[in-house]
Symmetry: D2
Subunit: 381 residues, 4 copies
Amino acid sequence: MAREVANRRLRAGIVGGGQGSFIGAVHRIAAELDGQAEVIAGAMSTNPERARASAASWYLQRSYDSYEEMARTEAQRTDGIDFAIVATPNHMHFPVVKAFLEQGIHVVCDKPMTFSLEEAQQLVSLVEEKQLVFALTHNYTGYPTVRHARDLVRQGALGEVRKVLVEYVQDWLLDALEKEGNKQASWRTDPTKSGIAGSVGDIGTHAENLLEFITGLKITSLCADLTTFVEGRALDDDANMLLRLENGGKGFLTCSQIAAGEENNLTLRVYGTKAGLEWHQQEPNTLIFKPHGQPQQILRTNQGYMSDESKALSRLPGGHPEGFYEAFANIYRLAIADIRRVESGEQTQGGYPTVYDGLRGLNFIVKAVESSQKGAVWVEL
Amino acid sequence: MAREVANRRLRAGIVGGGQGSFIGAVHRIAAELDGQAEVIAGAMSTNPERARASAASWYLQRSYDSYEEMARTEAQRTDGIDFAIVATPNHMHFPVVKAFLEQGIHVVCDKPMTFSLEEAQQLVSLVEEKQLVFALTHNYTGYPTVRHARDLVRQGALGEVRKVLVEYVQDWLLDALEKEGNKQASWRTDPTKSGIAGSVGDIGTHAENLLEFITGLKITSLCADLTTFVEGRALDDDANMLLRLENGGKGFLTCSQIAAGEENNLTLRVYGTKAGLEWHQQEPNTLIFKPHGQPQQILRTNQGYMSDESKALSRLPGGHPEGFYEAFANIYRLAIADIRRVESGEQTQGGYPTVYDGLRGLNFIVKAVESSQKGAVWVEL
Amino acid sequence: MAREVANRRLRAGIVGGGQGSFIGAVHRIAAELDGQAEVIAGAMSTNPERARASAASWYLQRSYDSYEEMARTEAQRTDGIDFAIVATPNHMHFPVVKAFLEQGIHVVCDKPMTFSLEEAQQLVSLVEEKQLVFALTHNYTGYPTVRHARDLVRQGALGEVRKVLVEYVQDWLLDALEKEGNKQASWRTDPTKSGIAGSVGDIGTHAENLLEFITGLKITSLCADLTTFVEGRALDDDANMLLRLENGGKGFLTCSQIAAGEENNLTLRVYGTKAGLEWHQQEPNTLIFKPHGQPQQILRTNQGYMSDESKALSRLPGGHPEGFYEAFANIYRLAIADIRRVESGEQTQGGYPTVYDGLRGLNFIVKAVESSQKGAVWVEL
Amino acid sequence: MAREVANRRLRAGIVGGGQGSFIGAVHRIAAELDGQAEVIAGAMSTNPERARASAASWYLQRSYDSYEEMARTEAQRTDGIDFAIVATPNHMHFPVVKAFLEQGIHVVCDKPMTFSLEEAQQLVSLVEEKQLVFALTHNYTGYPTVRHARDLVRQGALGEVRKVLVEYVQDWLLDALEKEGNKQASWRTDPTKSGIAGSVGDIGTHAENLLEFITGLKITSLCADLTTFVEGRALDDDANMLLRLENGGKGFLTCSQIAAGEENNLTLRVYGTKAGLEWHQQEPNTLIFKPHGQPQQILRTNQGYMSDESKALSRLPGGHPEGFYEAFANIYRLAIADIRRVESGEQTQGGYPTVYDGLRGLNFIVKAVESSQKGAVWVEL
């Protein structure tokens, strides 16, 4: 039964993201930024007290002690939520997503999509069956400059892609924060909550997704050297990988959470037969285009020369910096538009990362770990 | 009569900012970003049809055809707005602000504060009398790096300030857009709507405000050379000024809307007896600190070493870029906190630009224009 | 009588530049870099012992106790020097240059050209009379990127120039080094050796020269505010100036030797009706070109798209950084080529700063000081 | 028999580097920059006419038709050369170096040191036997910032090194220049002149050398994926490698000559347990130091806080850019000082790349090619 969604903001409910979480507030802000949705319900923690306190601090209309109850109850209310936001640790993604989809509620979910590859495969089937919107917050694809980069590749401005260098380096796990009571560090480095990979799952998948998003090329094989540098840590905190792409291109991916002095340095460089491009997440309003034999060009968010898709995802005149929230909000903007379409009986149009991207991400994790465990040898994806 | 404001988002109403406006959406997003307020009413255009269409596109609960009606009506509702947002062209600031303050409604207002110096002076009296929150959106002071810059000066890290260079250069009025039907260009270059200054009022005041905010020093005299480069334009589109500061420091301010190839380049450099600092609005998460004889330091938003005030106005871990909206939202965050305090009978704490900053801005405009008209001679502020 | 200069390096003699001098070695390296000249004689200090020790450390063939003796003797030797390098403090420029020119010896001289405007005027007459090469080392004009910037303006890529911002800020005189025995600081801040200006003469003239070189426009009036910030110093160590250009353009020039944390930051920005450009001496292989409405372009030394003149003054493939010495050496390259031409009875071709640039520099100094002394008022140049 | 070298510039002779060569002039300028040596003889081409024309254009005193003749003749002259500069294609390095060493003449030689690993091993023996100075122009180690980077690692400022990322990417062989008569491209891509590797030999060895120079750590194994992207080319023009270091550190090296839009982008990043550092050859006067939890620092050439070794290899005050020639000249400065020492019967002090670095370079080439040919598998160095 389709809901009436015209003339109102959509209603969202969040699972996870309670006090102490960084990503919870990101989802709320991103979901609400365009004034097209409002978070009104939540099951924000498995700890009931924290769940209620978190909901109160957000002035939510309804707080639940469990996501199951929330899914059931909201599905039956006439003013129930239109979509669920899943912001829990990785091991809970699958059951939570499943609960809402099965109640006919659309879902926006954090990445990596699931705890295991098997769950990811099941989720693909479920989404295909339910015909509901499922958006995965590979948020870096939401930057207008990233969209323009993809457009440059698509329109042939780079020629044939030959070489790709992608890095995502941080230092937030340089020290053993997980032993000092840091909540996020604890679950991120815990194989029972994060899955089989640490840095590769948390940030390596962003790098992999961004590479494939911009180049439109699949990684076909990789040779990965994962390392756990911090003593006593159960998962990798650093990885270097050689990549081969479906078109014969070659590449390199590195991710690290022990790269001293780095904040959140996600950088992508692509080189083709005609030109290169370079993008730095920390200065996301700039895209460097490097035509062979010509001056490098500094492309900037929302300038007239940017592609239509890129401009459509920009909100401010050039020179007024847009950042992390706005890129994240673009995933929501696109997903919300599709939710409105589904509820209005229209065709979806996509544009946001999907369950298939999530599946590729899990496959990437599994193969990277496999490669490394076998001695950093080549494996096919 | 104080309103009950606990346990709910504040309610806001906006005047101006309708379709075709860039700043309207900025106010909505900034006001709502922290989940502490919601825009629910509006008198978004003097054109009733556009007013209603604008309100509908934002899903507002109540749309008014005039700000007077909105002020009167909302003041009497038990669920009326807690504060008004004034996003009209400059000539309407004063009457609109006055209308709401006189109804006991707090106000957040665009800059320059008023059309004329006389209005600014009247507004100071009115705000002093009413004891309501009045916040002026000199939004660039909302950047965490700008706050930290001020803290560095305050704690003496620069020593005595000797030299200040501030620039705000754009190129959006390089061509005579006002003759091509550009709505914003039209009123910005129209003396009956903008006041006696063009670029000096629109962006020069931001530069002046930022300089005084960060250094804590007043400009005591200036020598200004204003120019109208685009033929047929009624107001200045470029200005260069020499400055003298109250402590004997010297400086320079330039603003331009015809600086070809520039987006929104607001840059401040301050040099003291011990160190210098540099900040660029277009890369706002970075503050460069330049101690004499030591390596320059790259200070970044929300890192542990930033000042408490700076960190309190940051929302994301370092390396996750915050931008224009978030800085703007910080003005709202501080103003909303004060509105809650006033309504709860507590002392205000400020932290946002006030009616006195607005008065200084108008005085700066008047003196810059006077200096230039007399042949670019020195005038006292 | 023309010398035979084919098939050999030219022979140069240096006055000044002895031990403790920074600029002496710069002249030697720059003069010899292309293998077209060799410094073989010198009167490197007024202190005879230091003169001899300096000459010995350079393996010079001949050391003189005075420049007069050097000029006389070298002029009579069949293997005498072809040109003299003048690297003394400012007050000695005129007598030394005069001595060599009168002996028929070409001259390359440091800037500012002379101690006073009167000397500069006399030097113009002398050079015109003697028909010898006189090159002034406004070395920043030697950068290939600066040449290309001039070419961009000349070919109309910027349209009509409207606004010019030029800065030259350092901090090497932040402390009173002249009281601590620093040789260079001592004469730089001594009016009997430097002339009537400090920072304006030392670096302000570079800024003025660069501005006029690149834009091809004369400064017609200025309003200058000079300051001596360091107590007890006899000359200005900081200046801010408003400028007006012959074509109606406006501008700003600042120079400072007390700008804490700055090294040698000479920056020029020019804005025209079509595009802007930006150049930073500290990263001299990059020129930023900013066409209105198009992406900014990063132009780099010796790339194929650079102008012929720019490439002719580049020595290395793009990406192999050229710096201060190489730019300085370009002044020598051009001057040496003209010396060869004069000695071979050919027409000179110029390309290096001349006695007329030197005269403009002195005039600029005189007018800046006059403006400031009268209270920072406008004066005509 | 020791030569008398006091009180004069050393005399050098060059082999190769004739007209059409880029590196010949680099050697001359670098050798002569400090005024401590002069190139006076040459066998600049195997083509006798070009050899003579090249020598004449440099005003050399003596031109030879063959290096053998030059070695024999110069060794017997009382005013013969003190050292030879070897600037030929790779396949000639060994015989030329051997000829001069056997005549008792010191050598400065281009890299890679020899054509094959066997030659490299023989050269080590020969240099050990002859007790002459042999310097290899791994010129990037000559940058003062690179020296300071090494000092930071040595003094423990980074803690234990964990991760190293080194890149050297260009685009000068993006097109098949070797088919268009480009002299340098021809021999660089010709296995009979370059050896078994293309990009890996030409620039990969620079990256390898720089990594080991700065970190002081040996690469113990690598997994290399070499590619020839340009059709018909006989050698690799691109490579990606995983690295493992002797202390357990991991790393990555990429080199490419088909990276569209890149000039000469050699970049090194090192991450330790306490801090990281970053250096870009294209802006070589800056070294970025990244202490964990503290602001990044911008270290600049010749500032007071730089290490003594770094400052000793700087020539200009901070802010006066030094570049490629000056770094190259530092290799010569150190080698020339050692030549003076040897000739004066003193102990050598080194500081420049040696025959052992050359051997490591050849070994690196051999192992990278072997790894790649076996399918990009791990091999021990």
